[in-house]
Amino acid sequence: MISRIKEAVHLKHFRLKTKLIITYILLTVIPMAILGYITYYQNTKAIEEEVGEYVPRLLNQANKNIENEINELGNLPNLIYNSSDVMAILRTNPYDERSSLLEDQFTIESFLSRTYLGSNNDNILGAFLLSKNRSFISTRVSYEGFDFSDHTFPYGEAHDLGGDTKVLLPSQVNLSFEGNPPYMLLVKDIVDLDNRKNLGTLFLAVKLTFIEEILEDLDEEEKATMWLMDSQGQIIYHQDHTKIGSYFEEVHHYPLHNGSFRTNDEQDRTLISINQSEKQEWILVHSIPINYLTERTDVVKTAAMIIFVILVIITTFISISVAWSVTKPINILGKIMKDVESGNLDVKIPIHSKDEVGVLATSFQSMISRIRELIKKNYHIELRQKDAELYALQSQINPHFMYNTLETIGAAIEDGESELVVDMVAILGRMLRYSLSNKDRIVPISKEILHIEDYLTIQKFRFEERISFHIDQNKYEEDYLTPKFILQPIIENSIKYGMQKRKSLHIEIDVIHETDHSILFVIRDNGPGINAEKLKELNQLLDKNPIIKRDSGFGITNVHARIVMMYGSEYGITIESKIDEGTVVTIKIPQMIKTQEKMVIDHDRDKNNHRR
């Protein structure tokens, strides 16, 4: 049991397949084993009980038969009373003449021979009549022992047997017959019933064949051992004749004298049935090994065991295959997961079942594809960001811009406007520093505004009256954040197209804080505008997935794509334009507040406000 508990403890470390196999086998084998065992045990018990109840009845009958036989035999000595001659001789006192003694001896011995030996009852081996120092003997076969001359003989003449027939066994008397047949000695006092005097004792030696016959009738299969003994355990008759007369001591340990019981000796389990006769208290024992009784059940048992083993093998195979079919997809899934773990996202899961494992596989599959998508998206955002930065940088260090600027500076030096030159160089320097500070992608709005102001100022130096601008911003712009380089591409566009058509271009930039925590940059110009067709095309371009359209060469789409990727599609650029009237570009970004070192998206602002 302890080892089994240990096994059970170890069970949790087993593989699922092993557990399943063990569970299946236990679920089938244990009930089968228990059922089989109970059936066999009950069956055996039923047989035992049946036999145990049946045999004592037979024994009782046999014992009664034996007792009847003994009773009948016990009546044999009474035949003497029928002969008045014999009675007269027995009543006579010791003789004076030898001849009359011998004559009487002849009379009585011939009577005994006639009565007891001559009749058809050939069970009687001999009759011995002892009377008043006389012995009358008549036997069927020659005998030895039984010497009446000495006085060791247990029953003398005047012994009072109380009128009943007593039974003596050969071991109690020194008498044996030719051929050593088993016999018993019936002893009866011959009483002169009329004079109430003891006349002598009659011994009848009776062969035990009648017991043998009765017992043989009982035991047709000859597998049982049977014997008859008196209440002291002395064996009167035993199938093994050598045991007759010996004592069977175990009878004193027997739990009962009428019924059946089983010895619990493991090697030699026997069913002992026993019956004690009422009058003589003779005990008839029937002892049969239980093996013989359960012989037929044992065949069934063997067959059942074979079937059991076959079933165990079959169920083992079934359980192994079932466990295998359950664990195989799981194993496959596990392998694929490991594959994914090592970086291969391009996997196909070959599981199409509808069960839990199938659902799991499908979920995993969709998770993998989502991950793949996200990775792709992130990659594009990153790429666009870099594009935007590169673009901004390119604009910044555009050789054309630089050339134009330096030319403007050169012209200013020629004109001797040294103050203007100083300003321009300072602005240009600031712009370059802003552009080159690559660390920050997100900057305070004020800085972005300053940058665009610088840009417009430089352009104004160049184009002088042809360009004018106005920037409307409030004082808090220091605290709010924006992505870098979102304004410059718009302004560049405005200048590019505005310079082509008109002589004077006015640009207005407004920063508006919306109530829905967003910030709008509104860039208005009075440039040539965009025709409706082109505007539609442009807006369609903006509405489309910005990632796919990464190759768009427009700076506007670059900015739009960056914002959408960073903050979602509700943010971004909208363009309104009327031909010959101007264009309004609105950039919508979420409101972000600069907090100490961190930049917090406006959605969290309330919370942060509470903290403060």
């Binding site: 063990i22 084993a33 055996t44 009329d194 004079n195 059946s260 019981f261 019956n275």
Partner: protein
């Protein structure tokens, strides 16, 4: 890991094939047949039964022999036997003795009744006190007792005695009967059978007189003498009670008619040995009164044990007995003649 399954499987196989037995005792009882047996056998052999035997009369050899047999049986069967009777055959004295036994509280009273009717009252009284009542030798009316132990079948005896007489007188001539008390039921019944048998078979014989002796030897002798004087052609005398034949024999001898007169009847060998041997009486018939005493006690014990007496039942030291309704018959009568009378000592 997988190999750990096998110990479990192995264990299961062992368990399934192995008939475990945890009983520590050496024997396990499967069927107990003893309870039934015990119930079938009620506890008997209740010792210390007291049985009172009341004879017709004491002091005569016949009843002395009965006493011997009764005492022997009491000894053999381990019961206490009281035996007492009056000196004369008188129902009133018997009644007094029975009353004594009732007071003493015996278990059973066995009476040889001197009057079949008059003892009824006291026997009914005994019965009411829970005392079992049987009769032996001489019966009462049957409502007063459970059972009557008869020595012989009255018909067999009566006819047989008639035969013993008629065969010796050549079936002719007159004869007389000396009986005991005229109201003794058994004697009267025997006499009835004798008379019937003689009428049927021996028409040339003639019964001249029946005289009473009251079981008194002297009275019997006187009666025999008177008969001899009165009927000169008398061929034989039947003594139907044990005092009759010896008295008749003595009387025949005294008048020197020994051998001429045939004396038969019921008497004991001891009383008759001398007369039979010297030829003054020819044959007497009787049973063993010892055996009767023994049987009475044996039957009494059987009754007290609650056993029913069966026909042809073997009674230890008695032999097989016959039972007719509520009458037990001990056996056949014995004839005592010159040849065998020495074998008997009662």
């Amino acid at each position: 890991m997988r190999f750990r399954i096998f110990p479990i499987l192995f264990l299961l196989l062992i368990v399934s094939g192995y008939n475990t037995n945890f009983d520590s005792s050496k024997y396990e009882i499967i069927y107990n047949g003893e309870k039934n047996k015990k119930q079938e056998q009620p506890v008997q052999n209740n010792p210390n039964y007291t049985i009172a035997i009341v004879p017709k009369v004491t002091g005569i050899p016949y009843f002395n022999a009965v006493e011997e047999g009764a005492m022997e049986a009491g000894n053999d069967l381990d019961v206490e036997v009281f035996y007492s009777g009056s000196l004369i055959a008188d129902w009133e004295q018997q009644e007094a003795i029975i009353n004594g036994y009732i007071e003493q509280g015996v278990d059973l009273i066995a009476v040889s009744a001197n009057d079949p009717e008059k003892l009824g009252q006291v026997l009914t009284k005994a019965k009411q006190q829970g005392i079992r009542v049987i009769t032996w030798d001489s019966d009462t009316n049957e409502q007063y007792r459970e059972m009557f132990i008869n020595m012989v079948d009255p018909e067999v005896l009566g006819r047989h005695i008639m035969d013993t007489l008629s065969s010796r007188v050549n079936e002719q001539g007159s004869y007389a009967i000396i009986t005991g008390a005229s109201d003794a039921a058994n004697l009267n019944e025997w006499i009835e059978w004798m008379k019937l048998h003689q009428k049927e078979n021996y028409p040339s014989m003639k019964l001249v007189e029946i005289v009473e002796s009251n079981d008194d030897p002297k009275q019997a002798y006187k009666a025999a003498k008177e008969l001899l004087k009165k009927y000169s052609d008398l061929k034989g005398i039947i003594g139907s009670s044990s005092v009759g034949p010896p008295a008749a024999s003595q009387a025949v001898r005294d008048v020197n008619k020994a051998g001429e007169m045939t004396i038969v009847g019921l008497s004991t060998p001891n009383l008759m040995r001398e007369y039979i041997k010297n030829g003054s009486a020819q044959v007497v018939t009787l049973w063993s009164p010892k055996k009767l005493g023994y049987l009475t006690v044996s039957v009494a014990k059987e009754i007290l044990d609650g056993q029913e007496i069966q026909d042809n039942q073997y009674i230890s030291n008695i032999g097989n007995i016959r039972v007719k309704e509520d009458t037990v018959i001990m056996g056949q009568p014995i004839d005592f003649t010159k040849e065998n009378i020495d074998q008997y000592d009662f």
